[in-house]
């Protein structure tokens, strides 16, 4: 993990940032800091979930909230994801702003009926009367030898659920800016946190008010031979791949989608128009993964700009494997470099 040092944040022109003051944080600290700020800012915000209280969350993302805001606003629930999300619908109806945590994204399956059938469509069903302004935080993602269902990247499934916003930050500053936007957003947001990035991804984070709007991709690395499209931890993989590609004389642009719903199709389109070649990198299985949607959007909007088929680098179509196999299962720098090289060499 030594090559992770000094990951720098892209400057985000779209963000609304109070002051230039910033400090270095890792992604976990940025999330914790933002939860503190948002709870202090709006006393309707309530954090609930398994072990979020005295324990501060199993990764310490909610550390200190219990001491600062008390047992009424930081609530350890019984171990039942369905009712964590289901009760959040009711809490929102009562006027509160719930920020439930699902301890690991894989356990949102236990709550899919509430997520997809209820949370996502309360506004639609009730024409706004009982909208569910809920931010669901959940860590996911591989590479750190977690037990089963702790790592699975489910965004492909989540993006097919109308009514949900799906937010997947790749930098510490974005983790802050997007989480603050999510909590203030009146709609349900899935805020997915890459486990591998919690401590590994570091960067300067504005200390004051900092909001990053949804639906605006960020260019992390400039380049014009090929664009590497990614989100969440895969942005970091692509950033490193771009470094290696540059040694091979290939200038790779890295585009961080940041939010999948809403999707910044304009940024994708213009990157493809400018580079003519694209690689989409996802941590999820290939079939049904969101990378297919990115390819389909490119097909719709920039097909004639393509000088080669868009390459997808994905995990494979097997269930997330156990620890000894996961490094080979996941997209990594080598796989991305190879896909980009082939794409550039293809006619």
């Amino acid at each position: 993990m030594s090559d992770s040092a000094g990951i720098t944040e892209s400057t985000d022109t779209a963000a609304s940032t109070e002051t230039a003051e910033s400090t270095e944080m890792n992604m976990l600290t940025a999330i914790n800091h933002t939860l503190h700020r948002e709870m202090a800012r709006d006393d309707r915000v309530i954090v609930l979930g398994e072990d979020v209280g005295a324990n501060g969350g199993v990764f310490r993302a909610t550390e200190g909230l219990y001491d600062e805001f008390g047992a009424t606003r930081v609530v350890d629930t019984p171990l039942a994801e369905g009712v964590i999300l289901g009760a959040s619908v009711g809490l929102a109806a009562s006027g509160l702003v719930p920020v439930p945590e699902i301890q690991f994204l894989g356990f949102v399956y236990q709550a899919f009926h509430q997520l997809a059938g209820q949370v996502a469509r309360m506004r639609y069903r009730t024409r706004g009367r009982f909208h569910a302004g809920i931010t669901i935080r959940a860590p996911f993602g591989g590479g750190i030898r977690t037990p089963e269902l702790h790592s699975d990247a489910l965004e492909g499934q989540l993006c097919n659920i109308p009514g949900l916003k799906v937010v997947m930050p790749a930098s510490a500053a974005d983790a802050k800016g997007l989480l603050a936007t999510a909590i203030r957003d009146p709609d349900p947001v899935l805020f997915l946190e890459p486990l591998r990035g919690y401590r590994l991804i570091k960067g300067q984070v504005p200390t004051g008010e900092h909001l990053v709007p949804f639906g605006r991709a960020a260019t992390v690395t400039e380049g014009d031979d090929v664009v590497l499209v990614a989100w969440s931890y895969m942005v970091e993989v692509c950033r490193r791949a771009a470094g290696k590609l540059s040694d091979l004389g290939i200038s790779a642009r890295v585009l961080d989608l940041r939010t999948l719903v809403p999707l910044d199709t304009e940024a994708i389109t213009s990157a493809v128009e400018e580079c003519g070649r694209a690689v989409v990198v996802q941590e999820a299985p290939r079939t049904g993964g969101f990378a297919s949607d990115v390819v389909a959007e490119i097909n719709d909007r920039a097909l004639w700009s393509l000088e080669a088929p868009v390459a997808r680098v994905s995990a494979y179509d097997n269930p997330y494997p156990v620890g000894l196999l996961e490094d080979d299962y996941l997209p990594d720098v080598d796989k991305v470099v190879e896909a980009a090289r082939r794409t550039v060499e293809a006619s």
């Binding site: 619908v89 009711g90 809490l91 009562s94 006027g95 009926h113 059938g117 209820q118 009730t126 024409r127």
Partner: protein, 343 residues
């Protein structure tokens, strides 16, 4: 915070209003059934047999402070919360998107199709009201069938832990479509299930509207006094088909149904009020006329309520995403192309 003393005892007006509501509930539900048969409405679930449960429970609540979460069979019995409930009911069954829009200040949630999912919502809402010290309690209806879903148990358990002001109203009408209660659970009763949550469970005759009222009023008092949740099992019998799409003769034993019809909650309560001298043919006539007029007026209004195809894009999010804006445009263009630009 204590429950208004007034509602502890029912006066004669309450009683006649309740019977009127029960007569109305059955009438409105029957109208919905007929509309479906005429191709003017979608699948719907008749209330027959549940009138006492719904009207009795509603009478024990305060429409100004308390909330109700129905399953799907109860709405025509909830007019105590406002006649607007009826308009929404008919909008709902004709397939109009406004049917699930319960406007302010109605403290009634829309029907829930995904069984038992409303129970966690009720607990969450009661929890939120509790921590914000809002007055009022929350009552949630669900069926004997719905009680088998994990959501019921997860919500009951959470309500017990938090001690929030919620009333679980389990409407045991003997059936979940074709599945009898004996195949639904081996528990001694649904009220028994409250033991699993550390909350009191009471069983009440659901064909007796007054008994339902009493049990609900007691549960409301407990909730409002900060003593936490209660589960009520109201035992009644489904007197009609599950829905317009169901054929109960395939599975309901005729003798069982006959026995249940002899305990029809509407008939029972009518006889009770007649015997108390509170009801007569004239009253009956007036109640029927009221229900008919209201149904006629409401259905006419509802059937004249327009809806544009592009309505489907509204309220997905507070602000539409670019994808939705594009898709809306493509539908508008499509409609123009096929000559429906008027809509």
């Amino acid at each position: 915070m204590t429950a208004p003393a007034a509602s502890d005892r029912l006066d004669d007006d309450d009683l006649t209003e309740m019977l009127t509501e029960m007569i109305g509930a059955r009438f409105f539900s029957n109208r919905a059934f007929n509309l479906q048969r005429q191709g003017r409405a979608g699948t719907n679930a008749p209330i027959d047999g549940n009138e006492g449960v719904v009207v009795g429970a509603a009478r024990a609540l305060d429409p100004a402070t308390d909330w109700v979460l129905p399953q799907y069979r109860e709405p025509p019995g909830l007019l105590r919360f406002g006649e607007e409930v009826l308009r929404r009911y008919f909008l709902y069954i004709v397939g109009h998107p406004a049917g699930s829009h319960m406007p302010e200040p109605l403290r009634v949630w829309p029907p829930q199709i995904s069984l038992a999912t409303q129970i966690p919502h009720a607990v969450g809402q009661a929890w939120g009201m509790h921590v914000q010290q809002q007055e009022g309690v929350v009552l949630v209806f669900f069926g004997d069938g719905a009680s088998s879903e994990g959501d019921f148990y997860e919500a009951g358990n959470l309500a017990g832990v938090l001690g929030v002001p919620v009333i679980f109203m389990c409407v045991n009408n003997g059936w979940a479509i074709s599945t009898p209660v004996s195949r639904q659970t081996a528990a001694g009763s649904f009220a028994d299930k409250a033991r699993a949550f550390g909350m009191p469970g009471v069983r009440v005759d659901g064909t007796d509207v007054m008994a339902v009222y009493e049990a609900t009023a007691a549960a409301r008092r407990r909730a409002a006094d900060g003593e936490g949740p209660t589960m009520i099992e109201a035992v009644t019998y489904r007197l009609g088909p599950h829905t317009t799409a169901d054929d109960p003769t395939r599975y309901v034993p005729p003798d069982e149904l006959e026995a249940a019809l002899a305990r029809d909650p509407v008939v029972r309560f009518r006889e009770e009020l007649r015997s108390r001298g509170l009801w007569d043919d004239d009253r009956e006539e007036r109640a029927a006329a009221w229900a008919r007029d209201l149904a006629d007026r409401t259905v006419a209004e509802v059937e004249a309520t327009p809806v544009a195809p592009t309505d489907m894009f509204d309220h997905v999010f507070a602000e539409p995403t670019p994808a939705l804006v594009e898709q809306r445009e493509s539908l508008v263009e499509h409609l123009a192309r096929v000559g429906r630009s008027d809509v």
